[in-house]
């Protein structure tokens, strides 16, 4: 019997392997960064406008909540960055075997979180 098409998968029943999870996080972080572009451009504009503007930007990030939000953005950037390097390596046929691919997925997840935490320690 031919399969009925299209096949709809139940996303709640699928257990995504780690490479799948970091992959969807790559997408989500990319989309988030795209949505934040106007905000980031505004911050850059303010910081370069004058000494006053620079001080103003600095004062925005004094509150813990703003620092946390900034760290969220930094994490998104770092995850996207590390994942991008992983994809570039995969394109070059580096680490395409299953075990290696799983390891590099774990590595990306851990490295980007550790770097985010290090930056967090620095800005706090």
């Amino acid at each position: 019997m031919p399969a009925r098409r299209p096949v709809y998968l139940n996303l709640l029943k699928i257990r995504l392997p780690l490479p799948g999870i970091v992959s969807i996080m790559h997408r989500a972080s990319g989309a988030l960064l795209f949505l934040l572009l106007p905000l980031l451009l505004y911050v850059l504009q303010q910081s370069l406008s004058s000494a006053q503007g620079f001080a103003e930007v600095r004062s925005w990030f004094l509150s813990p909540l703003a620092k946390l939000a900034l760290l969220g953005v930094i994490w998104a950037y770092l995850h996207h960055f590390c994942m991008g390097l992983r994809y570039l390596a995969l394109d070059l046929d580096i680490g395409v075997k299953l075990a290696q691919a799983r390891f590099s997925a774990k590595l990306v997840l851990i490295v980007s979180i550790v770097l985010t935490l290090l930056i967090g320690v620095k800005i706090w």
Partner: protein, 116 residues
């Protein structure tokens, strides 16, 4: 296996390549910026403005921003192609992304060259 008749159209190779080339450009710029921020601590306005006053940094920043916008376009388009199936809505989203990115590009040029 999808059987397609290869005619004059390109099948996404250009976008595939653009996504990677722009990624490498942005990665290099990011490493440069991180290196600068690590050496230049604490960062003050004079140093920050001085950095963006140099022409090579402005041009590199422009290259970064343009790469970012091409990269963002390909990425957002891929996301919409995968998840937004009604053609009209997808088309509207594509147009919105393109218009936003063109505006951002002009804005970025204005930011980078406003201090001249």
């Amino acid at each position: 296996m999808v059987n397609r008749v290869v005619s004059g159209a390109h099948y996404g190779l250009r976008d595939w390549l653009a996504q990677r080339v722009t990624a490498v450009v942005m990665a290099l710029y990011t490493l440069f910026m991180v290196g600068y921020l690590l050496l230049q601590t604490p960062l003050d306005f004079v140093a920050w403005q001085g950095l963006f006053h140099s022409l090579p940094v402005r041009l590199a920043s422009l290259l970064f921003v343009l790469s970012l916008f091409i990269h963002g376009w390909v990425g957002m388009r891929d996301i919409f192609m995968d998840y937004v199936h009604p053609t009209l809505i997808r088309l509207a989203l594509h147009v919105a992304v393109i218009l936003a990115l063109v505006v951002y590009a002009a804005w970025a040029v204005q930011i980078l060259w406003s201090g001249l």
